[in-house]
């Protein structure tokens, strides 16, 4: 479905390559995460996937970017945009400002593309229901919290029914409540058949929702695998990817010989509970034991 082959890219003003020989394959209908340190090139890769590089940013792009069987470099930006939706970090800047209610904002993209009125009304209702923002439809987008605005941004892309949706660090400018809102939505998107690629910094949340993770490090894809495999990999520090708190605790426990060395490191809470042997039957240490 999405296939990048030998993709390299340098921004126009620096001449220094940000990505070199990137190969990536993403199956249709899956939720894929791409993790990496800040500055590793996540935003660059997101723009390449959505066609904004090279159409808007310019620079030197080599290699092939094929989405749904079509090579993006041969398509004008309008066609790229109809294949790949993009959600970016800043929720405020994604509000067009052209409409005064959330309902109008959701319809804005469809109006630009000439979608018939009934179809627009149906899609707005459907997507708002899916993302549970129906009660926000009559409010001004500018009154909403950051998390709510980001949900509106995601909804604005979903109504356009693009086969692929790319999200570039959608929660990095949100508070924890907003972050939970956005990730809460991810699982609901699974049923829509959209291929979703999330570029993220917060691996814990990706673990619960992503089918597969790719690590962007050293200007290429350094590793690919299931979230469990990737996040418990000993190279996470080297990649600049932060392991989950459970993995970190388990590593410390392993270093101090408190657990057998061969036991696979946990990534999620459930795995940690099993790893550390927490259950209703075992009693946590009481204050008397400490003495």
């Amino acid at each position: 479905m999405i296939q990048l082959a030998d993709v390299s890219y340098a921004y126009p003003d620096s001449g220094r390559f940000v990505l070199e020989h990137v190969d990536l394959r993403i199956e249709p209908g899956t939720i894929t995460g791409v993790v990496g340190a800040s500055g590793a090139g996540k935003t660059t890769l997101a723009k390449i996937l959505s066609g904004f590089i090279p159409h808007v940013d310019g620079g030197q792009l080599s290699g092939s970017v094929v989405i749904g069987g079509r090579d993006l470099s041969g398509l004008p930006l309008a066609a790229c945009v109809s294949q790949v939706g993009l959600v970016i970090q800043n929720p405020f800047n994604q509000i067009s400002g052209a409409r005064y209610t959330v309902r109008g904002e959701l319809a804005f993209g469809m109006e630009n593309l000439g979608t018939p009125r009934d179809e627009m009304a149906n899609r707005v209702a459907e997507v708002a229901g899916l993302l549970r923002i129906t009660d926000l439809l009559d409010r001004s987008p500018y009154e909403l919290s950051g998390g709510q605005q980001q949900l509106v941004a995601i909804a604005s892309m979903l109504v356009l029914r693009t086969p692929v949706l790319v999200m570039d660090e959608p929660t990095s400018q949100l508070d924890p409540a907003g972050t939970r809102m956005v990730f809460g939505v991810l699982s609901r998107l699974r049923g829509t058949g959209t291929t979703i690629v999330v570029f993220e910094h917060k691996p814990e949340l990706l673990h619960a929702h992503a089918d597969r993770l790719h690590v962007l490090a050293g200007r290429r894809i350094a590793a690919s695998g299931s979230p469990g495999e990737i996040l418990s990999d000993p190279r996470t520090d080297q990649w600049g990817v932060s392991a989950t708190r459970y993995t970190r605790a388990a590593r410390l426990a392993r270093e101090q010989g408190l657990v057998p060395a061969e036991a696979p490191l946990p990534v999620s809470f459930e795995q940690a509970a099993a790893f550390f042997g927490w259950s209703a039957r075992t009693r946590p240490p009481s204050p008397e034991d400490a003495r």
């Binding site: 959505s50 904004f52 808007v56 930006l77 309008a78 945009v81 109809s82 939706g85 993009l86 970016i88 800043n90 405020f92 800047n93 994604q94 509000i95 067009s96 400002g97 052209a98 409409r99 005064y100 309902r103 109008g104 319809a107 804005f108 993209g109 469809m110 109006e111 630009n112 593309l113 000439g114 979608t115 018939p116 009125r117 627009m120 009304a121 707005v124 001004s140 500018y142 941004a153 604005s156 892309m157 356009l160």
Partner: protein, 259 residues
């Protein structure tokens, strides 16, 4: 300062098609300038604008906003033209060196009546028409949707921009920025405020442009609209009749003069 002075009261005036109201405003402007007598403006204000304001239940806001704008202008106009009008001969009142002429007062009356009409009609339009509806109606009538985007987007952006400017002002003051008394030096003080404001603007602009493209803004397809703008046959007829009356107001006096 309120953004977009719209006051929503759901009156019949509010429900008129925005283009109808705009055509009415333009027709009034032409009529009031084509027929120079002050009582023409007075008739329009008393016979058309004020009743419309009453029906629209915006009489109070109209007087408040209109008054705020008109008061300094009318006062200055009467004073200036009353005192210094070049063609003034008939002295009406004298106080030492200053003399008020009747020609000057008449000039001020004529010009002032027109300005009052102009301002009240514009304010009434703004009070009874939601900017979003005005933009939709104009787009439907053939205006480029790019204008609609820019106007609506700016209207909604200004409050956010102002709070950002306030925040920068506060931050600079906290750093000890004092406002000097010398006006020229005050201008120099503007730079630390303008710098962050304008430079921060550019990152925003990049991202906003990306978001717009992603929503198909550059599309050449024929645009559709989610909501229909109310209209009626009577209004469609009126939108032809009003400009015709305005044209007549221009042409008839010309013909009269020739005859």
């Amino acid at each position: 300062m309120t953004q977009a002075q719209f006051v929503g009261t759901g009156s019949p005036v509010h429900r008129l098609n925005p283009v109808t109201k705009l055509v009415a405003l333009l027709s009034i402007l032409v009529i009031v300038f084509a027929l120079p007598q002050w009582w023409v403006s007075a008739i329009v204000v008393v016979g058309v604008l004020l009743p419309a304001a009453v029906i629209a239940r915006c009489g109070g806001p109209l007087i408040a906003v209109g008054g705020r704008i008109l008061l300094p202008i009318v006062v200055v106009l009467v004073l200036v033209q009353g005192l210094t009008f070049p063609g003034g001969r008939t002295m009406v009142w004298q106080w030492g060196v200053l003399s008020v002429t009747s020609e000057g007062l008449l000039f001020a009356l004529n010009v002032g009546a027109r300005i009052v009409c102009l301002v009240l009609a514009s304010v009434l339009l703004v009070l009874t028409t939601h900017p979003g509806d005005l933009m939709s109606a104009l787009t439907e009538a053939g205006m480029s949707p790019k204008f609609s985007y820019i106007i609506s987007s700016t209207l909604q952006l200004i409050p956010a921009f102002r709070s950002r400017a306030d925040a920068i002002l506060l931050a600079q003051q906290a750093r000890g920025l004092a406002v000097p008394r010398n006006p020229l030096r005050r201008i120099g003080v503007m730079m630390p405020l303008l710098g962050p404001l304008v430079l921060g603007m550019f990152t925003d602009v990049e991202e906003r442009g990306t978001a717009m493209e992603a929503r198909g803004f550059g599309s050449t397809a024929r645009r559709t609209a989610l909501e229909a703008i109310p209209d009626s046959t009577a209004q469609r007829v009126a939108r032809w009749v009003m400009p015709l009356v305005a044209v007549a107001a221009v042409v008839v006096p010309l013909v009269w003069e020739v005859l």
